[in-house]
C-alpha cells in the first residue's frame, strides 16, 4: 500500500466529472487500498479518487456508525444518492484538498446511497450524522464540486487565494 499525494485546490483535476468504473479490477482494488491508507494518514474520514488525481468514480470512508461499533473502512465504487431526507443539517466541513479551511455547509441530514463494493456487489445503505455529510461531500468530488462551491463568492475567493499562496509556499519549500 502506498500513501499518495493529495491534490490541493485550485487544480483542474478537482473540477472534472469522474468516469464510471465499469469493472472492479485488481488495479481498482489497489487504488481503494492506497486511498484508505492516504485518508488515515491525513487524517481524514473520507477521500475521493480525483483528490489523488485519478478521475474515476470511487470514494473511501471510515464510518463508526453506532456506539460500540468498530470502525468500518469502506470503498464505494460508482456511488449514487437514491434518497435524501427533507430534514437538513448544517455542519462545519473541511476538505483534505483545502487544508485548514472550514466552513458551514447545509445538506440533507440523511441520505440513502447505492454503490458497488470491492467485490463488485451492489450495496445500498442509509447514512446519518457525519457519514451523511461525508458521503455527500465525497460524491460531490466525483462531479467536480468542492464544499467551498456552496459558499458565498467572497468567502470562496478568499479561501482560493489562501490555497494559491499555500501552493506557492509548498512549491518553494
Amino acid at each position: 500500500m502506498t500513501i499518495r499525494p493529495i491534490l490541493i485546490h485550485p487544480d483542474p483535476r478537482l473540477k472534472k466529472v469522474a468516469e464510471t468504473v465499469p469493472e472492479i479490477t485488481a488495479e481498482m482494488r489497489a487504488l481503494a487500498e492506497d486511498m484508505l491508507e492516504t485518508m488515515y494518514d491525513a487524517p481524514g474520514v473520507g477521500l475521493a479518487a480525483p483528490q489523488v488525481g485519478v478521475l474515476k468514480r470511487l470514494i473511501v470512508m471510515d464510518c463508526v456508525k453506532e456506539e460500540g461499533e468498530a470502525a468500518r473502512p469502506m470503498a464505494l465504487f460508482n456511488p449514487e444518492v437514491t434518497w435524501t431526507s427533507e430534514e437538513q443539517s448544517t455542519y462545519e466541513e473541511g476538505c483534505l484538498s483545502i487544508p485548514e479551511q472550514y466552513a458551514e455547509v447545509t445538506r440533507p441530514a440523511e441520505v440513502r446511497v447505492r454503490w458497488h463494493d470491492l467485490d463488485g456487489k451492489l450495496q445500498e445503505e442509509e447514512f446519518d450524522g457525519l457519514w451523511a455529510t461525508c458521503v455527500q461531500h465525497e460524491i460531490d468530488h466525483l462531479n467536480g464540486k468542492l464544499f467551498i462551491d456552496y459558499l458565498k463568492p467572497m468567502k470562496r475567493q478568499m479561501i482560493t487565494r489562501k490555497m494559491q499562496k499555500l501552493k506557492r509556499e509548498r512549491a518553494r519549500a
Binding site: 481524514g44 474520514v45 461499533e69 473541511g94 487544508p99 457525519l130 465525497e138
Partner: protein, 167 residues
C-alpha cells in the same frame, strides 16, 4: 473530508465555559461522530467539544480501546457530577490539547455522573479508577479547566515547558 484540528494553548477557546446542548439534532450527532473520529485518529481516550473549538457541553470517551483494541465510544452530553466519594487517587494524566505533557493529578476515585445521550435520554452511572479520572478530566474542559491547573505554580510551569507542537 478532513477533521478539525485539536486546539492547544494559548487558544482562548480552551479557557471558556461551554454552553449546554439544547438541540438533540442531526448536527449534534455529526459533531459526536467527528469528535469520535478525531479521538481515535489522535490517538486518545477522551475528547471534549471545546478542544476542537465547539463551545458546547459534550465529550466522547473510550477508556479501554488502546488496551483491548476493541472500540466502544461513548458520547456524554450535558454531564454533571452528582456525587464524588471522599477517597482520592493520583493518576498521571495526559491531554490531547497538551501534547508531550503528563502530570499527576489527585481527584476523587469514585464519581457518579449524570448526562444525556444523543437522543436527549438521561443516564447516570458511577465511575471508578481510570474512568473516574477520565470523566472528571473531560468534564473540566467544559468549564475551561486543564489538568495542569491542579499543579502548584512551579510544577505547572515545568510541565508546560514540555509542551510540544501537535504533529
Amino acid at each position: 473530508m478532513s477533521l478539525r484540528p485539536i486546539l492547544t494553548p494559548p487558544d482562548a477557546r480552551l479557557r471558556q465555559v461551554a454552553a449546554p446542548v439544547m438541540a438533540f439534532d442531526a448536527a449534534l450527532r455529526a459533531l459526536a461522530d467527528e469528535m469520535t473520529a478525531i479521538m481515535y485518529a489522535a490517538p486518545g481516550r477522551g475528547l471534549a467539544a471545546p478542544q476542537i473549538g465547539e463551545l458546547r457541553r459534550l465529550f466522547v470517551m473510550d477508556t479501554g480501546w488502546k488496551d483491548t483494541g476493541h472500540r466502544a465510544p461513548r458520547v456524554i452530553v450535558n454531564p454533571e457530577i452528582v456525587s464524588a466519594g471522599d477517597a482520592t487517587q493520583v493518576m498521571d494524566e495526559g491531554c490531547l490539547s497538551l501534547p508531550g505533557v503528563i502530570v499527576p493529578v489527585q481527584r476523587p476515585s469514585e464519581v457518579t455522573l449524570r448526562w444525556q445521550d444523543l437522543d436527549g435520554a438521561r443516564h447516570a452511572e458511577t465511575f471508578t479508577g481510570f474512568a473516574a479520572t477520565c470523566v472528571q478530566h473531560e468534564r473540566d474542559h467544559l468549564d475551561g479547566i486543564l489538568c495542569t491547573d491542579y499543579l502548584p505554580e512551579d510544577a505547572r510551569a515545568a510541565a508546560l515547558a514540555q509542551l510540544r507542537p501537535r504533529p
